[in-house]
């Protein structure tokens, strides 16, 4: 199995829960997920299925009162030289379980921003409104790299050039509100990549942007991935973006991974009824019925259930059109290997 070589992050049975007054929200409830060095992995699912909480748990910045209840977050670390020199060599030096770290402690902080970096959905709100772009990028560089302020500024300007920011020497001293949405997201990407992370977690980085800017940012991210070689965990609810950006996809539903497959397999040979439904809900040019009319868009019936009362058995069964009565609503399905690197969690394939 080649995929075990080059392993960067291995998430095993991750559970992040929110103990609230009304009950416990199991936002992430048993997620298994692997990312290899340099790989681009997509995580898709409807709003509220736990994508953001999962991503934040990986960074150990799970929002309060959220807590990692169990599971492992194994980070296969390589020293900086090894990371750069030869990606093909499985030369990691140590394995660290991020789930065991104190989220505010020095080890977790040393990993955040340096080995795992993150970009967010709202580029405006994600920058401090009262500090310049320079200030905010340089801060991270000074934390993780042994350089002085002038050198840090040089690195920051170089990063801004790398993300194709126009006039980086001037833009760097601006405040976030003086930049356009696309420029802010470029600055955010520059900030995240300024310490050459092995993994970039991107939580819906283009959702808040207009379509043109969205395309530009996606292209930019692909180029950066090619040039810098970092792995990307790309979170989105847009399957079009998944097709464009990723190699491997995890489909998430109510805190669980229901299907995982390579992009090609997922689009041509989806197994889980939820994935099928997601695929049917993408608007597609050229998909027409015999009469030449546009095929109506399928909508997944029902809504995402209330997080406090997750259905018993398979959590998707109330909305599933292939439900097997007496099984799906009773027993939780296990994960089944249905092809090479293709897992699905559905009783139909057991």
């Amino acid at each position: 199995m080649t995929e075990n070589n080059n392993l960067l992050l291995e998430v095993k049975d991750l559970r992040t829960h929110f103990p609230l007054r009304l009950g416990t929200v199991r936002a992430v409830d048993g997620v298994d997920l692997n990312i290899r060095y340099g790989q681009t992995v997509g995580v898709v699912g409807e709003s509220g299925c736990g994508k953001s909480v999962m991503a934040r748990s990986v960074m150990r910045i799970e929002p309060t009162p959220g807590r990692i209840m169990s599971g492992e977050l194994l980070l296969y670390r390589r020293t900086a030289e090894k990371r750069k020199s030869d990606i093909a060599q499985p030369g990691f030096t140590d394995i660290i379980d991020m789930a065991q770290l104190d989220p505010k402690g020095p080890e977790a902080r040393g990993i955040r921003g340096a080995e795992i970096a993150m970009i967010f959905q709202e580029p405006m709100a994600s920058f401090s409104p009262v500090h310049t772009i320079a200030w905010q990028i340089i801060e991270g560089i000074l934390i993780h790299q042994d350089v002085d302020r002038t050198e840090a500024r040089r690195i920051a300007i170089r990063m801004l050039e790398q993300v194709s920011m126009p006039h980086p020497e001037r833009i760097i001293d601006r405040y976030p509100h003086q930049l356009s949405g696309g420029m802010r997201q470029r600055a955010m990407i520059a900030m995240a990549l300024s310490c050459q992370p092995s993994l970039l977690v991107a939580d819906e980085p283009t959702t808040a942007l207009d379509v043109t800017t969205q395309a530009q940012i996606l292209t930019l991210m692909r180029e950066l991935q090619r040039d810098l070689g970092m792995a990307i965990m790309f979170i989105t609810h847009d399957l079009g973006v998944v097709a464009k950006m990723t190699e491997y996809v995890y489909v998430m539903y109510l805190g669980k991974i229901v299907e995982s497959a390579s992009v090609v397999d997922l689009f041509h040979d989806a197994k889980h009824p939820y994935t099928e439904a997601l695929l049917r809900s993408i608007p597609q040019l050229g998909r027409r019925t015999h009469q030449g009319k546009a095929e109506p868009l399928a909508v997944i019936p029902g809504g995402v259930p209330d997080p406090f009362s997750i259905p018993s058995g398979c959590p998707f069964h109330p909305r599933c059109h292939r439900i097997v009565e007496g099984v799906c609503n009773v027993r939780e399905p296990t994960s089944i290997e249905v092809g090479e690197n293709h897992q699905v969690r559905c009783v139909l394939y057991e």
């Binding site: 902080r109 994600s126 409104p129 801060e139």
Partner: protein
């Protein structure tokens, strides 16, 4: 930026002129003036004849002429304001029978020292507590300070002053009134006097600062709770910034901005709010004297205080506006 500051300063000038006119008119509004009540006083004390005489020529007429009290209002105003601006002459206190100038400055200075110290105290106490209460929301400490805060808001300042006075008198056999020990009151300024002031200052500062601190803790806590969930805090965390550094550097910094704009009116509010406490504790600040001047229609004395305190407000607002622009880049200064 510089241009903005200069423009703001220039804009303050017409405001100040308006304020001086309003101050003057307000002082003139009550029927009669000090001289009418002065004549009435002479009449009751020395009889009708003396009053007649005083009104015709003599004492009153001299005063009337000197301050142009028989002139139309605009002329009086012009004389009053030019004397202040050109010669620093604020007129004459009819009641105290000395120039207003000799009465106001020390009191004004003490008032500024007292209010300034109180504000500083309030900020130094309230901001760290507010931050802690927000960061450790619903902790024991949060509940403790919440309770204390509501007590602080609910107890009127003057009542606290009375209670503390009684406690000091009853159990420690000392009097805690005044800003100076008795032998320093009329003494010239020396280091000894300054130290003596410091020794007396803490109590009124504590009393005056209590409700201010209590409400500032509440506001700071609420503002910060809003900011703590903002995405930029998460970004900083994702960069690996230390939690404590991060809280003070980002959300506290943003949550503090609105307070800067309150300096302008917090200071005058403190000055007028301290009047009752000053009376109770017999502090030689502006409040008690202004009150007396207003009651006895001692127009030039009252006018000087109203004018100076309003000017302070304008200057305070100006400073906080400029500070706000310096601190918050989002506020455009076009």
């Amino acid at each position: 930026m510089l241009e903005y500051i200069i423009r703001r300063i220039l804009l303050a000038i017409p405001t100040l002129i308006m304020i001086s006119i309003i101050s003057f008119v307000v002082i003139q509004l009550p029927p009669g003036d000090f001289l009418t009540s002065y004549i009435a006083q002479i009449r009751s004390e020395e009889g009708d004849l003396a009053a007649e005489e005083a009104a015709e020529g003599g004492r009153v007429a001299v005063l009337r002429q000197r301050y142009g009290l028989d002139q139309p209002l605009p002329v009086q105003y012009w004389r009053w304001i030019t004397n202040i601006v050109l010669r620093g002459d604020f007129g004459y206190s009819f009641e105290q029978k000395v120039g207003v100038r000799t009465l106001i400055w020390e009191r004004l200075a003490l008032t500024i020292v007292l209010s300034g110290t109180t504000m500083l105290f309030t900020w130094l106490v309230a901001i760290p507590i507010g931050v802690l209460s927000a960061v450790k929301q619903y902790s024991l400490m949060d509940y403790f300070f919440t309770t204390l805060g509501f007590l602080g808001l609910a107890i009127p300042n003057f009542l606290l002053a009375l209670i503390l006075m009684w406690v000091a008198f009853r159990y420690f056999d000392t009097s805690i009134t005044g800003l100076f020990s008795s032998h320093y009151i009329d003494a010239p300024w020396t280091w000894g006097k300054v130290l003596d002031l410091m020794k007396h200052l803490w109590l009124p500062v504590l009393i005056l600062g209590m409700s201010g601190s209590a409400s500032l803790i509440r506001t700071m806590r609420a503002n910060l709770l809003d900011e703590l969930n903002k995405p930029y805090v998460e970004t900083a965390r994702a960069k690996g910034v230390k939690e404590n550094t991060l809280i003070w550097r980002y959300p506290v910094r943003v949550a503090l901005n609105p307070f800067v704009s309150t300096i302008g009116w917090a200071l005058p509010a403190l000055v007028s709010g301290s009047t009752i406490v000053s009376i109770v504790l017999s502090l030689a600040t502006t409040g008690p004297l202004l009150l007396r001047a207003l009651i006895s229609q001692d127009m030039f004395l009252a006018g000087a205080f109203v004018l100076l305190l309003s000017t302070l407000t304008v200057i305070g607002t100006l400073i906080s506006d400029i500070l706000l622009v310096v601190l918050d880049p989002r506020i455009a200064y076009e």
